[in-house]
């Protein structure tokens, strides 16, 4: 938005220790630091899956960017361990209250804290949403429609699949069929169970991806070593997190990543526009970062919580919440784990937990008695997670627990990933309890509805059939949930949604939301890729508007070009297979222009 002036923001190295992001990549450039007196172009609250991409794009385009992150700026060699129990600090472990008839487990199950956010501990499955996901209400009369279509997001799927980059099969038959340009991973035994079971039943499956895990080395990131610790944080640097794929480029282009900075509230000026963010710094001091534009990227619990905690005169029920929709339509996917015991050993701790799947049951099937569908995916619980699953799935404790755990190497696990629909009464509100900063914590209320129950029952039984067809002798299952979505949904109608299709809040022109909370529905695909793709799309929109980004002009529509020149080095352009679609609704075939035009 504003060109550099040399006196604005000081470049400073934190200390003389190398900051490792994986064994090969070092963050060795000085980071820019702004002061409380500076009015930066944008503050991004939460440097996770969306925030990491946003700060990188906007900094590279010359914006003065501060990313506030509640957790630490990880040095992966120093801070991360190849140990299940030792990885507890990767998650959002601060208090939240969970309730309702079917309360969600939070923490390790779905929330990250620290630069990279949830992408630090995602398993890394990166399927795209299907075209039908964007028009659920139109097709099924239930759920909600998105204000944007698959075609709007497709160019950004293709772009992020290169930037991450995603490894996967050459042909992926579901949704909008496509292929992956980086080769698939070798099959582990859990993948073999999924592929064998599906093949026996005549169900199509794919193996080796799509996952955000390198099958070949890429720049200064090594390829996968198949040790199975994806959700404990990948010390190898093979699995993508925005910490290692985008944040280094953001810092190199002058973004400040302010870690251990917990946002307390968004400040509203007299003119109805936000003026900055009040936060608690690493020392617990309350400070304020002023900014021309604020983007909240705190995910499905913390984004609504921050808006609700920012209630003020004019917005008594929460900032940007004139619709009363903030916090509502919270979703999680059905994530039942189906466990099968095999005579032959499996050793499911090896290979990435995420590496084979089927989306054969993804879409609405009129022969079934429920709308929408589910995926079946590999999972690979390590011993502690497996023991907890056996307590629930098999009723194991005492000698029974010891016995089934001694058979750990004989068990294989497959995960259901089922679409639970958005319901207004599933919501985030403020609890009476407060956190270490005195801020009210979030309360998450969650009930399953009729369609959800039917879908889970059918999906669970289907996964059990696959497990049986693969040759398991004993099959048990644990109900649970995976991922979080919703809480600040996008839509065309300001009366029933919080943001528009670009993430701009309907109420406040210079306040944006960009993360999984803005999804109106969630499909049966893991949300990580779509979160990152939408972040790149919102960044292109803001950069195209430039100085006008913080303004609002009714009826003014902008269709930004796809800015491949903002990709991190070596992820587009020469030597990287070209994109098939460059701008929304424009398809350029293999004979078309190279990305960036000059490559």
């Amino acid at each position: 938005m504003v060109k550099d002036t040399s006196l604005f923001g000081i470049f400073r190295k934190e200390n003389d220790q190398p900051h490792q992001l994986g064994p090969m990549q070092r963050l060795d450039v000085p980071m820019r630091h702004y002061t409380d007196a500076d009015v930066v172009d944008v503050v991004v609250v939460g440097v996770g899956s969306a925030g990491g991409v946003l700060v990188q794009r906007l900094a590279k385009a010359g914006w003065r960017v501060v990313g506030l992150e509640a957790g630490p700026f990880w040095d992966t060699e120093r801070d991360w361990v190849s140990d299940e129990a030792g990885s507890h600090n990767l998650y959002w472990n601060d208090l939240r209250i969970t309730g309702g008839k079917d309360p969600l487990a939070l923490g390790a199950n779905n929330s990250g804290k620290g630069v990279g956010g949830g992408s630090v501990h995602w398993a890394g499955f990166t399927p795209r949403f299907h075209p039908s996901d964007f028009r659920v209400y139109r097709e099924d009369g239930i759920g909600a429609d998105w204000p944007i279509s698959y075609e709007d997001v497709k160019p950004y799927y293709e772009l992020l699949e290169r930037e991450i980059p995603v490894a996967g099969p050459a042909y992926y038959p579901w949704g909008d069929p496509h292929g992956y340009i980086y080769g698939p991973h070798p099959l582990g035994q859990v993948g073999a169970v999924l592929v064998n079971g599906c093949t026996t039943l005549g169900i199509r499956s794919v193996a080796g991806g799509p996952v955000a895990i390198l099958s070949g080395s890429h720049g200064d990131r090594p390829h996968c070593i198949y040790r199975g610790f994806c959700i404990q944080g990948c010390k190898v640097g093979a699995k993508q997190s925005t910490l290692i794929s985008h944040v280094p480029d953001a810092v190199a282009h002058g973004a400040e990543i302010r870690a251990n900075a917990m946002a307390a509230r968004i400040n509203l000026g007299n003119d109805g526009r936000v003026t900055g963010v009040t936060y608690f710094d690493h020392a617990g001091q309350e400070r304020c970062q002023r900014a021309k534009l604020v983007i909240i990227s705190g995910y499905a619990i913390e984004t609504p919580r921050l808006l609700l905690n920012s209630a003020t005169t004019g917005y008594p029920q929460g900032l940007a919440n004139s619709s009363g929709t903030v916090g509502r339509y919270l979703m999680a996917q059905a994530g039942n784990v189906i466990l099968g015991r095999f005579d032959e050993p499996v050793r499911m701790y090896k290979a990435p937990p995420a590496h084979a799947l089927t989306e054969e049951f993804y879409e609405t099937d009129r022969r079934r008695d429920f709308a929408r569908g589910f995926s079946i995916q590999t999972v690979g619980p390590l011993p502690i997670a497996f023991a907890k699953q056996m307590m629930v799935a098999k009723g194991a404790w005492g000698w029974g627990l010891r016995e089934v755990m001694m058979d750990y190497n004989h068990w294989s696990a497959l995960g259901l990933l089922g679409e639970i629909l958005p319901w207004a009464d599933n919501r985030v509100t403020l609890a009476t309890e407060t956190d270490q900063f005195g801020l009210p914590v979030a309360h998450a209320h969650f009930d399953l509805h009729d369609n959800d129950h039917k879908l889970i029952e059918f999906g669970k039984n289907t996964v059990m059939e696959v497990m049986r067809a693969a040759g398991a002798q004993e099959i048990v299952q644990e109900p649970r949930y995976a991922h979080l979505i919703g809480g600040a949904r996008m839509g065309n109608d300001p009366a029933t949604s919080v943001v528009d299709g670009w993430g701009r809040t309907h109420d406040i022109p210079n306040l944006f939301i960009c993360d999984g909370s803005i999804f109106p529905t969630q499909g049966a695909a893991n949300p990580g890729l779509t979160i990152q793709a939408l972040a790149a799309r919102t960044a292109d929109y803001l950069i195209t508007l430039g100085a006008e980004a913080a303004a609002f002009r009714p009826g003014h529509t902008v269709m930004p070009p796809l800015r491949t020149e903002l990709s991190p080095a070596q992820t587009t352009g020469r030597g990287v297979p070209r994109l098939t679609s460059r701008t929304p609704n424009v398809h350029i075939g293999l004979g078309g222009l190279a990305p960036g035009g000059k490559a």
Binding site: G99, G107, V236, K350, K388, G398, G400, M405
Partner: protein
């Protein structure tokens, strides 16, 4: 930090009577199996032998877990002793030689002392530390109602019977406490806390044939459950829980009269 003695004398009292009645039996002969330094089906497999192939940060975390067992600071000594007796039935270690038993209570105590939580609390549940304290009181209430003794003064068979009532979501006493805290939420908290300690320990990894830390070396044999060159093939032996035990029956959590409580661990 000083290297502490591997075990706690105070808590050992609860675990140190090698009573033959508590050991698993050989189903063929009906005789108790001898105590083993290494239980499980992977004799001679020791993850700690691989530690020079681990990265420094991981080695540091695992070796501190092995050798720096923390002191009891959250619980009173009486509470810690009772919890040790409870943990000894939730994850019995009567087949292990004393020197190879995994200390559980000190690490639960350490978690509660440092205020570390899993990032959420169920509506209607007290904070984790209070839940543990209330749970121990309720367990004693049941022990007194059924056997006229404190839990710690009972032998393992009635102790198991008491815990089984929690697993079944049908405790016969302690109702004033259960009115403040759902039985099943407490039972899951208790069992999960024990699991998190036991299966984080290298002795437990050796028992189940799990590879343990694997960076930077990684794995090369991914299919058919093949062991790496440094791993061992399985050598199974038959065993059954002691005859009086009810904890090897795999009855549904919550007694099977309700829908299953969802799991709480992250997998995907």
């Amino acid at each position: 930090m000083n290297k502490r003695k591997h075990r706690h004398a105070d808590l050992d009292a609860e675990l140190s009577s090698p009573d033959l009645d508590c050991q698993p039996i050989d189903p063929q002969t009906g005789q108790p199996l001898p105590l083993r330094a290494q239980v499980g089906y992977y004799p001679g497999y020791q993850t700690l032998r691989q530690q020079r192939f681990w990265d420094a940060a991981t080695r540091d975390v695992v070796m501190r877990r092995m050798h720096e067992v923390p002191p009891i600071r959250f619980f009173t000594l009486a509470e810690a002793r009772q919890l040790a007796a409870v943990a000894a039935r939730i994850i019995p270690q009567d087949d292990r030689e004393l020197a190879y038993r995994i200390p559980i209570v000190p690490w639960i105590d350490e978690r509660l002392h440092s205020g570390r939580i899993d990032g959420y609390r169920y509506e209607g549940m007290p904070a984790d530390g209070e839940a543990h304290r209330l749970g121990l009181q309720a367990i004693n209430d049941i022990a007194r109602a059924l056997h006229d003794k404190d839990f710690i003064d009972l032998t393992p068979p009635p102790q198991e019977g008491i815990l089984r009532t929690l697993h079944d979501d049908n405790p016969p006493a302690g109702h004033a406490i259960w009115a403040r805290m759902p039985v099943q939420r407490y039972w899951m908290l208790l069992v999960q806390d024990c699991i998190e300690v036991y299966y984080a320990h290298p002795f437990a990894w050796d028992e189940i044939g799990y590879g343990g830390p694997a960076y930077p070396r990684g794995y090369m044999r991914l299919q058919h459950g093949q062991p790496e060159p440094w791993e061992k093939d399985e050598v199974r032996y038959s065993w059954r829980a002691p005859k009086w035990s009810v904890s090897q029956e795999y009855t549904p959590l919550g007694g099977g009269h309700d829908t299953i409580t969802p799991g709480q661990e992250g997998t995907h």
